[in-house]
């Protein structure tokens, strides 16, 4: 099956899940993983991502983790009946990533004033953060390019400085 995310209408992969309230550790672990994947939370215990081999795989393992913790979970492929729903979900995800990119841009601009060694360290940290945001960015906002440019500028500035130890 070939599934193309972001082609206008889905399909989506959905994770339905219910984790026992106690103990809290597995519940928090699941929550962290979903956050890291950049899911759209459709409702209580229902998360969505554009369907592809990778997103499906991640959901399948999280579902197993939920079951291992004594909860219930399922992984589904879905298409919204109304394209407007698709657009609303995509817009929600785009806005969430835009915020993250904006934070990276701001941090990069701030770090430009630091002495070379700290600047380089900040640049590397932000490059890693940018990679994390990229991985959960399914509908790229214009802020992506600005963030990329800001981090690149920061790293280039440090490269030009001969005193920076490698």
């Amino acid at each position: 099956m070939t599934l193309q995310p972001g082609d206008g209408r889905g399909p989506w992969v959905l994770l339905s899940y219910r984790v026992p309230r106690e103990p809290s550790a597995p519940r928090i672990a699941v929550w962290r993983k979903l956050k890291r994947l950049g899911v759209a939370q459709i409702g209580d215990g229902l998360a969505a991502l554009p369907a592809d081999a990778r997103t499906r795989e991640h959901f399948e393992w999280i579902a197993q983790e939920v079951r291992d913790a004594g909860g219930q979970a399922g992984v589904w492929l879905a298409e919204p009946t109304d394209p407007a729903q698709h657009r609303a979900l995509a817009a929600e995800m785009t806005a969430a990533r835009a915020q993250e990119y904006t934070a990276v841009t701001a941090a990069a601009q701030q770090a430009a004033a630091l002495p070379p060694v700290q600047r380089r360290r900040a640049g590397e940290r932000l490059r890693a953060e940018l990679g994390r945001v990229h991985r959960r960015d399914f509908f790229p906002p214009p802020q992506r390019d600005q963030a990329q440019q800001a981090v690149r500028t920061l790293l280039v500035q440090t490269d030009d400085n001969q005193e920076v130890p490698r």
Partner: protein, 148 residues
Amino acid sequence: MRWATRAGVHIDRAACAWLIGRFVDRHAEFVFLTDSADLGTDTTPFDMPGVDLSHHTGPDGHAECSFETILRRYHLDDPLLWRIGQIVHEADLEDERFDVPEAQGLDVVLRGLSMIRTDDEVLALTGPLFDGLYEYHRRAGVLGREPA
């Protein structure tokens, strides 16, 4: 022996198949399932949710991928295999536990391959790839630096 995993192999399943074929069962035969109910009783499943040889929490409380689980279950303590395990772990779980930048590249290569080849072909192509990774890290260990 017959071994089964889910169809549509990616990094963890390709690496597990290599590990099984080279270090666990020289005569391993692999089947790829689209329905987990098709699992025969004479077949050992791996990297499928709910089976033993899959993702688990390791003894130190961290998540581990199926490759690492197989290393544990079959007592494969070769440090080179654990080094490859770090690459597979990062490519598969993406949890930044290990600093292995090559993981992302390998993941991209595997994803691309899986788009144009069958599962059997992916295993045939990635076998030498993992052999090469093993040799690279073996030489790196001997030299104490990255081999040319």
